[in-house]
């Protein structure tokens, strides 16, 4: 197994947009201090070739931002994202590699409505010399085959397809760049449940056939469990638990992971009395993160130490890391 992706101490902050008059205030020595939003804090992780990693957490925990940083859509504010040892973005923050591609959540928004499917699929490969004008039709056709769409789809517009078909097109667009890594940002969250299964099966199938390395971002534990080898649980911009999916589901070590698993509604046909335990409280604002462990306000096991000192990620057994002073 060779290492493909290395994410080292990555931060992503979004500065508050300047407001009218800021310059004037600065001029008179009263520069406004506005908190920057720290969406991703000090995240490190490695991936080996062929692996599927699930990135799980509540809305607003920074998982999509981390995915976009890894895919080079947003440059990181600090730290490094290396693909086979080479940075994904250049010094100016522009993406330089085609080897990591992205599939977005909403297939109704991620395809240009005014471009024929075939043109949209051929655009990137043509721009990067992966195919020629003469060969584009066959090239696009081959990738439409790969996602089980008819080749005639190339001549039509995105609005003529259903949500599931559109997501197949978006997947084909990412694959047509022949990436080493694809980052899928909630690729099934906006699809009907019946379609979700098809798309997930497509991912499993593609992974087997093409040996894809994938990052699968989702808030849906059951989806991630189905697709991924390893899972990273994120809370307020940080990874709090990382390890093999089966082990994490069998025995979560971070109280937040435990709470997430317990709160996930699932079909309990044989047990009509099943009760789901929602997590107490809400995700704190990343503009004003709590002291110490970010989860301490909602944690049933919180101690005095959790309020004052932030737990670092540490390896508690082979392949399993957790950021908690008192893991389960």
């Amino acid at each position: 197994m060779t290492e493909l992706l290395r994410v080292a101490r990555v931060d992503k902050t979004f500065a508050a947009p300047p407001r009218f008059g800021d310059g004037l205030l600065r001029l008179i020595g009263r520069a406004p201090r506005r908190a920057a939003l720290r969406a991703v804090s000090d995240v490190s992780l490695d991936m080996t070739r062929g692996e599927a990693l699930g990135l799980v957490g509540e809305s607003g925990c920074g998982k999509s931002t981390l995915g976009r940083v890894i895919a080079g859509v947003h440059p990181q504010s600090a730290g490094r994202v290396l693909l086979d040892g080479a940075p994904v973005t250049d010094a100016a923050g522009m993406k330089t590699t085609t080897r990591v591609q992205m599939v977005f959540q909403d297939p109704f928004a991620s395809l240009d409505p005014r471009m024929r499917v075939g043109d949209g699929l051929a655009e990137g490969p043509l721009a990067h010399g992966l195919t020629t004008r003469a060969g584009a039709r066959d090239y696009v056709g081959a990738w439409l085959d790969a996602v089980n769409l008819p080749r005639e789809a190339a001549g039509r517009y995105p609005h003529q397809f259903s949500g599931g078909q559109r997501q197949r097109i978006a997947i084909a667009r990412a694959l047509a760049m022949q990436p080493d890594l694809i980052v899928c940002d909630e690729p099934v969250a906006s699809l009907d449940v019946s379609i979700q299964a098809q798309i997930i099966n497509l991912f499993l199938d593609l992974r087997r056939r093409l040996g894809l390395t994938m990052i699968f971002i989702s808030h849906d534990l059951s989806v991630v469990r189905h697709v991924c080898d390893r899972i990273a649980i994120m809370y307020l911009g940080r990874i709090v638990e990382l390890g093999p999916g089966a082990e994490i589901f069998a025995q979560p070590r971070h109280p937040y992971t435990r709470a997430l698993i317990d709160s996930a509604p699932r079909l309990a046909l044989d047990d009509a009395t099943a009760v789901f335990r929602p997590i107490e409280g809400e995700l704190p604002s990343p503009l004003n993160p709590p002291s110490g462990c970010a989860f301490h306000q909602r944690c049933p096991r919180a101690q005095a130490r959790c309020r004052g000192e932030r737990p670092e990620m540490r390896t508690i057994e082979a392949g399993r890391e957790v950021a908690c002073h008192d893991p389960l």
Binding site: G72, Q101, D112, R114, G124, A170
Partner: protein, 292 residues
């Protein structure tokens, strides 16, 4: 826009009879203006064919010298007004369309570029454009036409300078909305070069409001050109456009020779109103909130 979209668009357009008539008028005026040298009874720019003795003849007069039937009368130089109007429309339409097209290309590119890059560049560009929009277009065009002098190229330059800001403003707003959509993010994550993202993805999607502005601004360009010519800042006297024809007849208005000013004026009004009706209809159709 694809075939089905276009045919549906036309079906919706055809629902409005007035707009269809207006579109027909625009098409007719454009066609006759472009074909003016072929259909006009006289070449009004060829001074040798003009009969000074036929000056200021009323509509319907038949020239004693050439036998020419002056349907709409003649002006002070003995020009057949019908011919002069056709040739004048030709100039007005060509200058209006050229200025509109150049202002469109320039403004749309600038606005979309500003929306794409964002930050300081965007703020600076858009404030300059806002500043320019705070001056009346006619004032700007007037000053520029006076500074640049007479001639078609100079006139087009003045009109473009006065009008590109409207396109830039509109393109900026529309492109800003498109900029944050996922398909742009997808294009950037491929990655595709910035010019490609702007011209192939953002601008085509920002087109609907720009098309509306374009129809209105072409009508405005024609009106603006007529105004400048009326004030004597447009084209040389030897090639009168509609504005100059109106100006030339102005002094005879009160002496009963209404036709020299009125007929070119009517032609101008009909063209501008027709373009505006077509523009309004397109705007209504492209506005999702007004869709039935």
């Amino acid at each position: 826009m694809n075939e089905t979209g276009l045919s549906r668009f036309w079906a919706d357009f055809a629902q409005n009879r007035v707009a269809v008539v207006a579109l027909a008028v625009v098409a007719l005026v454009m066609a006759t203006a472009l074909a003016a040298p072929l259909i006009a009874p006289q070449n009004p720019y060829d001074l040798a064919t003009l009969q000074l003795s036929d000056a200021r003849r009323p509509p319907g007069h038949v020239s004693a010298l050439t036998g020419l039937h002056y349907w709409l009368g003649t002006d002070a130089q003995g020009r057949d007004l019908l011919s002069a109007i056709l040739y004048g429309l030709r100039i007005s339409v060509m200058i209006g369309a050229a200025a509109g097209a150049i202002a469109f290309a320039l403004g749309a590119t600038l606005g979309a570029f500003a929306a794409y890059v964002g930050g300081r560049t965007e703020a600076l560009l858009m404030r300059v454009i806002d500043l320019q929009l705070s001056f009346p277009a006619i004032l700007l065009a007037l000053v520029l036409a006076a500074v640049l002098g007479q001639g078609k190229a100079q006139l087009v330059t003045a009109l473009v300078t006065a009008q590109y800001a409207y396109f830039a403003r509109t393109a900026h707003g529309a492109a800003k909305a498109e900029r944050n959509k996922e398909y742009v993010e997808a294009a950037l994550s491929t990655p595709l070069p910035a010019w490609r993202v702007v011209f192939r993805h953002i601008l085509p999607n920002a087109m609907p409001p720009l098309i509306v502005v374009a129809t209105v601004q072409i009508a405005n360009a024609i009106a603006l050109e007529a105004t400048l010519s009326f004030l004597g800042l447009g084209l040389p006297v030897s090639e009168p456009s509609l504005g100059m024809l109106i100006a030339n007849g102005f002094q005879y208005m009160l002496s009963g020779r209404y036709w020299i000013s009125i007929y070119p004026g009517v032609a101008l009004i009909v063209l501008i109103v027709a373009i505006n009706i077509v523009g309004d209809q397109i705007r209504d159709q492209l506005n999702p909130r007004l869709q039935r």
